[in-house]
Symmetry: C2
Subunit: 459 residues, 2 copies
């Protein structure tokens, strides 16, 4: 019999009790968020108008290495975690590779993805602060589902602005949020000035994430006792998602395994930033030198083809400015089905690490991603989300290179969620109707032109 | 800190290596399947024309207490099992009950339900026998998804006849099966005589499970090297599903817990029959006396209002006759959304146990089931399938009775799967458009009139 199990679940006492803050070990800090009006670093006082106070503090804290996970958050983590570390024996066999492939699977929960790890933390802090409710936006719906679940748990009212075209095309995502008690409003709506202005211009618009963010923020700051929350990009979100990497590290250590390469899909960076924590720490502190690989869609290549510059986090240009790899906040991603990766920017932490040479990035085309997803489903009995399948694609490619070279590498990748709500995309692939899209240099240049000018700064 | 964890996962060496055959401990055997043409017990030779030989043997074997789980099937079980035993701390707290509530959750796999436990066994035996392919039917799609996954794993072609109305209304279920490589045909189709005959009569029919069974069986027996497989009702299916109950028993024993009452939803009986195994054994052998409760929809009440009689397993009247609790094979269940429970009959093993007083049965109305499902989702972070939620309803009712009486009962129930593909039903409930339906005595009498007359037998 095999010594290494298919799935390793930590016991409750093996589970991490702290979040790990990557910034504490970075030789250089990511550049601070800026107030676009003044060009000066955003202050706690400014941020806490929009975010929960405790979360705003976490956002600004680059020094504290470990944050204790509040007891009530640990309790919820125990309800759906630990997530298993899985050895992909069948995939290895089918690829005939000498490589060992492990993956950390975050889809064993109702929202079906890793998003809930930060959602429960954010809902908890909101409840602690005595807030009356939260607002957020959602596109593909994974974040909205996760936050709905978390708010239901804490009995906290939630308003979700859902991009109208998704609201109409993904009624089941909407139904999940409603089942958890959230109010779901198709955006643009007539519940905000921003929404009304857009509707006046174009009553038939399907909306956009940028517009939904504008509405959610406006609703939060104009409703007493409400705050706005976000599911990716921010430092606080990477902090909460560090639970993934820490569990993975403990499980790998139990198996006496150390990855030669750690792979994760990257949209805003919430999953990748959480997964790589303990291994990036080894790299930053000179203890080991594993490769860290971000995988992004060729249709939305912020790391591989973007600029490292100050930019708005939203297309509506209302958020603080973040220095990050970006395609320009005016970039409109093509209708790539991996909705969670269709984002013009990238977490400032990951952007800095990439800029300083601690990380690699590759981009992959959609049809190749779905080929990998289908192969994986048939072999590993998990039907992956298209976002997650970007990491599968890169892991398979790495394992195939090992086959050629004969190297017995250990590969660890993050499988962020399941594809239950993405079957329309699978159908397009199954029926041969899926196409790839790679933006031209001219198209990217046009969107770089949308980068804001910041007083006293150049990139 | 709590001593009992939220979730208990067995380690690989704690996992059962045998299936348990309830029949071996029954003082009286269930009545045998009959050949409807002769009225005589179906023989191995007759059954193996339709089913895999090994499965036909299991079907007829009432004596062997434990069947070793073939090594390759154990290997797949390790890929998605063990399923966790979960303590419903939050539900207990919200109900303010002195009862302890445990549930065994079978939804942590791509098909999203317990169905895959038997699907992998059946696909394995088919592969072993050197078959060229399998056929089956599916209504709601859980069984079809599970078998598609299992056949993909073993590289075995599969044709699924999917009730046409489901094929059209549930395109995502179809897409799951296709992603796993199955051929999915809307039934009735022009690929069989049965299908063509029905289409000739009514070209616009939406089909029925009875028709889909007829087509799947015809296709299997008329295609060289093919056999037909079924996901519930049969003795062999309960045998494979015994993995659920055995894992639950081992986990409960580790916690030093013994249930006062074991609760499961019951359609054809695959989940309930598997869940109760070790506890029913205690009851049959006089070692203990836990209550065993089957929960069925009030709209399709085979145990609580049916007759214990010989009947066809399908509405198309082509299968062997089984003695079971039945509403009559002509019973057309109302459009209850718990598709997996819309079956006129019940496993012959469970029917016999119920008839002999070893089991109780309750029926519950759909809106009450969805109330329980929604409450459970918000508290326990798992959005349950409507079928599974029948068991949740009964467990909550039991816990509330404990609150009244002050009894500290230990409740164990089976949570068979997730509701990701049932969000249309949740939407109807959320919007207040869900209705209950209870068949009248006259309606049941009309369907009892469809019971077949068997030469030399009376019920």
């Amino acid at each position: 019999m095999k010594k290494v199990p298919y799935r390793l679940y930590l016991t409750e006492d093996q589970m991490p009790k702290v979040w790990y803050n990557l910034r504490a070990d970075m030789p250089e800090q990511p550049d601070p968020l800026l107030n676009p009006a003044t060009g000066k670093p955003a202050t706690l006082e400014e941020l806490e108008q929009v975010f929960c106070t405790e979360l705003a503090k976490q956002e600004l804290d680059g020094k504290t290495r470990y944050f204790e996970i509040p007891e009530p958050v640990q309790e919820i983590y125990k309800q759906y975690r630990p997530s298993p570390l899985i050895r992909a024996y069948n995939l290895e066999k089918a690829l005939d590779t000498p490589a060992k492939i492990y993956y950390k699977f975050e889809g064993n929960n109702t929202c079906g993805s890793h998003k809930v790890n930060s959602a429960v933390a954010q809902a908890y802090y909101a409840k602690q602060q005595g807030l009356k409710g939260l607002t957020t936006e959602t596109g593909a719906g994974q974040w909205g589902s996760a936050l709905s679940e978390a708010c239901a748990y804490f009995g906290l009212p939630l308003t979700v602005y859902m991009v109208k075209v998704s609201y109409e095309q993904k009624p089941y995502r909407k139904a999940v949020m409603q089942t958890f008690g959230a109010e779901v409003i198709p955006s643009p709506s007539n519940t905000t000035n921003a929404g009304r202005a857009i509707l006046e211009k174009d009553p038939t618009t399907g909306g956009s994430l940028g517009c939904a963010i504008s509405e959610a923020v406006e609703k939060a700051v104009s409703t007493p006792g409400y705050r706005y929350v976000l599911g990716s990009v921010l430092n606080q979100v990477l902090l909460h998602q560090s639970i993934i990497g820490q569990e993975a590290r403990i499980a790998m250590d139990l198996l006496d395994e150390y990855p030669d390469v750690v792979i994760g899909c990257a949209g805003g960076g919430s999953n990748l930033g959480g997964l790589i924590g303990p291994y990036m720490r080894d790299k930053l502190t000179g203890k080991a030198n594993p490769r860290i690989v971000a995988v992004e869609p060729a249709s939305c290549p912020s790391l591989t083809r973007g600029k490292y510059a100050y930019d708005y986090c939203d297309t509506g240009r209302i958020t603080p400015l973040a220095r990050m790899y970006t395609l320009g906040c005016g970039f409109i991603p093509s209708a790539n089905h991996a909705g969670g990766l269709r984002y013009h920017g990238m977490s400032p932490i990951l952007s800095k690490l990439y800029h300083d040479g601690y990380m690699e990035a590759v981009s992959v085309e959609q049809t190749k991603v779905f080929e990998a997803a289908t192969m994986f489903a048939r072999l590993e009995t998990i039907l992956p989300a298209p976002e997650s399948a970007h990491a599968i694609r890169a892991a398979i490619d790495e394992a195939l290179r090992c086959k050629e070279s004969g190297e017995k590498k250990t590969i660890l990748f993050g499988l962020t969620g399941t594809g239950f709500f993405d079957m329309a995309a699978y159908t397009r692939f199954n029926e041969g109707n899926m196409q790839d899209y790679i933006p031209s240099d001219e198209e990217l240049q046009r969107s770089f032109d949308t980068l804001p000018e910041v007083p006293g700064l150049k990139d």
